[in-house]
């Protein structure tokens, strides 16, 4: 039953995620944090950070983490299969039936508007996650640095993740944490 729940919940996240890994965050928050309490917002951020610097699709990495936490190795595998299941079905249908799916005007219009909605949902998610992640001045500095640098320069997320992990240890050792 637990495995079935994991599969269905992640399949739902897979169906409802439009436009890449970050668009998944608001949906994950709702399904995993609010609804099932399988992880906290903080844990979600931890998984997301590790998912950025490990190989593979971030959505799958996050699913494996949460699945593992709830149901061990099998849970991790089942959650990952759950999140990719809808994609496989939908894309196979589209590739088989509609070869020019992405050129249909109505599809283009719908997705232009969905992107607008995704902007708003991500904005709300960031505000919510901010509370769990940025609790002192040092964390605020890290946030601003990562945000600013990744907006203006083309730097790989791996660089940020590794640098911030080290910064976290150094800042804690210096006793800046919590001030």
């Amino acid at each position: 039953m637990k495995y079935w729940d994991l599969f269905i919940s992640f399949a739902k996240v897979g169906v409802m995620t439009f436009g890449g890994g970050y668009a998944m965050i608001p949906i994950l928050e709702r399904e995993i944090v609010d609804r099932h309490s399988w992880a906290t917002n903080e844990e979600l951020m931890d998984y997301y950070a590790v998912g950025q610097c490990t190989p593979g699709v971030i959505a799958v990495n996050t699913a494996t983490f949460i699945g593992h936490k709830q149901g061990g190795t099998l849970g991790g595998i089942i959650a990952s299969l759950g999140i990719v299941f809808p994609s496989v079905v939908i894309i196979t249908l589209i590739a088989g039936i509609l070869t020019n799916f992405a050129d249909i005007p109505a599809v283009k219009s719908a997705f232009a508007a969905i992107r607008v909605c995704v902007c708003v949902l991500i904005f709300n998610a960031v505000l919510k996650l901010w509370k769990g992640a940025v609790k002192d001045k040092a964390a605020l500095c890290l946030f601003l640095l990562v945000f600013g640098l990744s907006v203006f320069f083309d730097i790989s997320p791996i660089v940020f993740v590794l640098a911030c992990a080290i910064a976290g240890i150094v800042l804690t050792q210096m006793g800046v944490r919590g001030k």
Binding site: M16, G56, V57, V60, H68, I77, V84, A110, I166, I169
Partner: protein, 193 residues
């Protein structure tokens, strides 16, 4: 049979070496097109368009699409499994190690630094979506009255309505995000976004 094995292997390698999310698979897929001849660069461009206009992680969508065009329905399943297998193995190992080191003060300190980093990366990714969906960046500074072109007024109006509904209206702000996504899709079709 050989084709299925090769599909699995090529996508396994992509999944193992593409670090940093769905779009990171793109250079690998481009190289795969040249090497195997399974699909052309033009088809790859179409796949990106479809991958972005369907639900699900983009990397997975692209793998399914490539697998299907190369070897039909079994191909789509095999390519996807190839892509996700390395992630699942790596993450399961990390998750297990993390579990035993969760209380370690250095691991805890590292995550203290990683959380604002994650939020920063998500905020920056969000800003990229804002840039392409709410503005016409090409119009910036061009000709008299360029700013009337620069703002995508329809999109900004929709964003403003959604912002109010998701944050301030008591009745609607607890609704599931998918409700807003589907309503937006409908608005997009009706008002020709």
């Amino acid at each position: 049979m050989m084709l299925y094995l090769r599909l699995f292997w090529e996508f396994f390698k992509t999944g193992l070496f593409a670090v940093g999310g769905g779009m990171a698979t793109l250079p690998f897929l481009s190289a795969m097109a040249d090497k195997t001849g399974w699909f052309t660069q033009q088809q790859l461009a179409d796949m990106i368009a479809v991958g972005e206009s369907t639900p699900g992680p983009i990397g997975v969508n692209m793998a399914t699409y490539v697998g299907f065009t190369t070897a039909g329905i079994p191909g789509s399943v095999i390519a996807t499994l190839g892509l996700v297998t390395p992630s699942i193995i790596v993450i399961l190992i990390i998750a297990r190690v993390l579990e035993s080191f969760r209380q370690n003060k250095y691991v805890d300190a590292a995550f203290y630094g990683l959380r604002p980093c994650s939020v920063g990366l998500i905020a920056a990714a969000g800003l990229m979506v804002v840039k392409i969906s709410l503005f016409h960046i090409d119009a910036w500074g061009g000709g008299a009255g360029w700013w009337t072109q620069f703002f995508n007024w329809k999109a900004l109006a929709l964003a403003a309505v959604l912002l109010v509904l998701t944050r301030y209206v008591k009745k609607t702000k607890k609704l599931h995000p998918i409700v807003f996504i589907l309503c937006s899709a409908l608005v997009g079709v009706v008002f020709k976004f």
